[in-house]
């Protein structure tokens, strides 16, 4: 009787040990069969954002790792009648808002005037059109940014110009005006004793004006570089061309407007 008890206890202990040792396999073999091919569905809906995207939202979108960048049009444009004028009209449409933002800032106004003055005289541009897509607060967002770059070459040197603007809101997010000669005019030089303090004051005025223009707080990490020879601002700390977008091996494409509508054309070797 006692031997039977011992045998029974050993059997129970061994059974418990084996059961516990193989418990995960026993459990997962049944759970895996249950989970695999057992689908779960849910419904969703989009709440389209009807308002224009704000500068804060754009910054958020540009900074997001998940944002999907699509380069829709990149090309070099030479003087070509109507299309050239269309592009000039496009970048010119941003001028009123920009000028009104820098109402009292003489350096900014002189840089803007210089920018558009040279733009009308230049016969070639590099144009890049990009859409940045994603979600903000659950709403689908797509922003089309137009980046136009041109240079003013001559025997005296080269001037660099760039404008990055939202095609829809006409707000400029990156602006560069580095002409061959100083931005400021002679009469400005006569009126002001040119020194670093004046430059510093003009820079501070630029920063205040930009914060109002973009509708952002002062502590935001934007980039402003102003001097009597160059005028540059960017809503992001880095230049637009430095963003992740450039790391993508994207297919550049565009569309040409023809008499019968738009036609898709690969633009990889456009320029």
């Amino acid at each position: 009787m006692n031997k039977i008890k011992y045998a029974l206890c050993i059997f129970i202990a061994a059974t418990v040990t084996c059961a516990v040792v193989f418990l995960p396999y026993l459990y997962y073999s049944s759970i895996d069969k249950r989970d695999i091919n057992n689908y779960v569905t849910e419904s969703y809906s989009f709440e389209s954002k009807n308002d224009n995207i704000t500068s804060e939202e754009l910054i958020s979108l540009l900074s997001s790792d998940e944002a999907i960048w699509l380069e829709s049009n990149t090309y070099s444009m030479y003087y070509d009648g109507k299309q050239f004028n269309d592009l000039l009209d496009e970048i010119d449409s941003a001028q009123p808002l920009l000028k009104s933002a820098f109402n009292d800032n003489e350096l900014a106004n002189m840089a803007i005037e210089k920018f558009y003055e040279v733009a009308s005289q230049i016969s070639a541009y590099k144009v890049q059109e990009v859409t940045v897509n994603g979600e903000i607060n659950g709403s689908p967002i797509s922003v089309t940014l137009l980046d136009v770059v041109y240079s003013d070459f001559s025997e005296n040197g080269a001037g660099e110009f760039e404008i990055l603007m939202d095609k829809k809101t006409k707000i400029v997010y990156e602006f560069k005006c580095t002409p061959k000669e100083p931005i400021v005019q002679d009469d400005f030089i006569d009126e002001h004793d040119l020194n670093e303090t004046v430059e510093q004051n003009l820079r501070e005025q630029t920063c205040f004006a930009l914060c109002d223009y973009w509708g952002i707080e002062g502590e935001h990490n934007y980039n402003v570089e102003t001097s009597f020879y160059s005028f540059y601002f960017n809503i992001m700390p880095l230049a637009f061309t430095d963003y992740e977008f450039n790391n993508y091996n994207s297919i550049m494409y565009g569309y040409d407007k023809t008499d019968s509508g738009y036609e898709i054309s690969e633009k990889n070797n456009y320029y």
């Binding site: 459990y27 999907i68 993508y248 738009y262």
Partner: protein, 482 residues
């Protein structure tokens, strides 16, 4: 089954169950969390891509009824997205495209604007597939609509491999724990039950008759408080049993001695009676001789009668209860003094009394018998001309009677046995005086009936003091007595 093995099996099962189930729950928690996080991540990514695709198409909706442009935009979007997501493959295709990982699964049943996910097992690998079904339209005036699926596929084989790896580790650890716990539990269970085994061995020895055997209770031998208490209580019980057995043995011995003494005391007069009766029957004796024989027979008969009466009294006194009444001490002492006048005259002894007046609770006739016997013994022990004192004192709330003589005394070694029936210090002397060794036994029984014991204080060849106490009556009882 041994107690140690019971402890081993129960503890082993509890340890294995606790450790095993706890470990499994931990693994399952880690696995479930990882899997759910991955599923959520893929679903969130799919939702984001779907939302972005919707935004892209909305942004280009100015191109009316351009199916080709819609598809091209989506194709470009798809490639761009796949560059963006390294671990997840994204397929975007129309419903008719059939370019999905598992078109036969839930995709076919997916409703418009619904999203679903499923785990797919292709034998070697496992994937999480999240699919959204979306209607995309291009053009404001002449919109072109098409139904699309956005599918995100992520490899989750590593999560399952990690789980299986954890399970293998868990098994190895659990088997290790089982072996380690077995060894430790065997040692500990035997260590814990060792004092009980020792106690069991001691109890076995006691059961076999070695009543002096005791369990160890000192510190160091037993560290568990409960076991120490058990050992201590066991030893107390063993001591009680030993004492009781000794008492029984003494009682048995006493009974044997009693029977032997009684037989001897019975045989002695009977031998005389038989001898003288045979002489009367067998020989022609003259009148004087016949009278002498009859006289012997009569005396021995009286002695037998006295023996049987005393025995009867002893048995009756042992088994009966007496009715105590209040009586004055001077009455008892004076009546006792009167009753022993014959003895005093016979042994030529003087009796002096010295007592305090009090009312005591006693059975008068038995108390007088007790005092009579004590004085009788004192007379027998005293030389002619000596004086015996009978005193009565109130002491410690009781009344103390003492009979004091200056006779032969009793050796110290005999004092303990002096109250046993048929015990005589000097047998020949006692018998010559008609004693049978029952007097003090009777006295002791009477003293017991009065709630006391005979206290014998004796110095050999100097004298003996025998005393006992009775209860005093209270003042109210004294009135009753009067």
């Amino acid at each position: 089954m041994k107690f140690a093995w019971k402890i081993f099996f129960i503890s082993f099962v509890i340890i294995i169950l606790s450790f095993g189930v706890g470990g499994f729950l931990l693994i399952n928690s880690v696995f479930t969390t990882s899997l759910n996080n991955k599923i959520q991540s893929v679903c969130d990514s799919n939702a984001y891509i779907t939302s972005s695709l919707y935004a892209v198409v909305q942004n280009t909706s100015q191109i009316d009824n351009n199916e080709a442009y819609l598809r091209f935009t989506i194709s470009n979007f798809s490639e761009q997205v796949n560059h963006n997501t390294s671990n997840t493959t994204v397929n975007i295709d129309s419903v008719d495209g059939n370019n999905f990982y598992d078109k036969d699964s839930f995709i076919a049943n997916l409703q418009n604007n619904n999203r679903g996910h499923v785990i797919i097992d292709n034998g070697n690998k496992k994937y999480i597939q999240a699919v959204s079904k979306i209607i995309l339209s291009i053009g404001d005036n002449l919109p072109y609509e098409e139904l699309y699926y956005v599918e995100s596929i992520a490899d989750i084989t590593d999560i399952y491999q990690s789980r299986d790896s954890y399970c293998r580790t868990y098994q190895i650890i659990l088997i290790g724990v089982a072996l380690f716990a077995s060894i430790l539990l065997v040692i500990f269970s035997h260590f814990i039950t060792k004092p009980l085994v020792r106690l069991s061995e001691v109890s076995k020895e006691i059961a076999e008759g070695n009543f002096s055997k005791r369990a160890q209770t000192h510190k160091g031998a037993i560290k568990t408080k409960e076991i120490a208490e058990l050992s201590y209580n066991f030893n107390t019980m063993a001591q009680y049993v030993e004492d009781y057995v000794e008492q029984l043995e003494r009682a048995a011995q006493s009974r044997d001695d009693f029977v032997a003494d009684f037989t001897h005391e019975l045989k002695t007069p009977l031998t005389s009676v038989i001898g003288y009766a045979d002489m009367l029957r067998s020989y022609q004796l003259d009148d004087a001789q016949r009278r002498e024989c009859a006289d012997f027979i009569y005396k021995e008969g009286k002695r037998l009668e006295s023996l049987s009466l005393n025995l009867l009294n002893l048995i009756v006194l042992k088994n009966d209860e007496i009715n105590l009444v209040s009586v004055k001490s001077d009455t008892i002492i004076s009546e006792t003094g009167n009753s022993v006048l014959f003895l005093l005259k016979k042994y030529n002894i003087q009796l002096t009394t010295d007592f305090e007046h009090a009312t005591i609770s006693a059975e008068p006739s038995l108390l007088k018998t007790l005092l009579y016997n004590l004085i009788d013994n004192a007379c027998k022990a005293s030389e002619k001309g000596q004086t015996i004192r009978l005193t009565g004192r109130i002491k410690d709330g009781k009344y103390l009677f003492s009979v004091i003589d200056n006779g032969t005394g009793i050796p110290q070694s005999e004092l303990k046995k002096i109250t046993e029936p048929f015990y005589m210090v000097d047998k020949s002397r006692a018998r010559s005086m008609g004693g049978a060794g029952l007097g003090l036994a009777l006295c002791n029984e009477i003293a017991k009936l009065h709630g006391s014991m005979l206290n014998i204080d004796s110095v050999y060849n100097k004298g003996t003091t025998v005393s006992f106490t009775t209860e005093l009556c209270g003042s109210e009882e004294v009135l009753d007595c009067e």
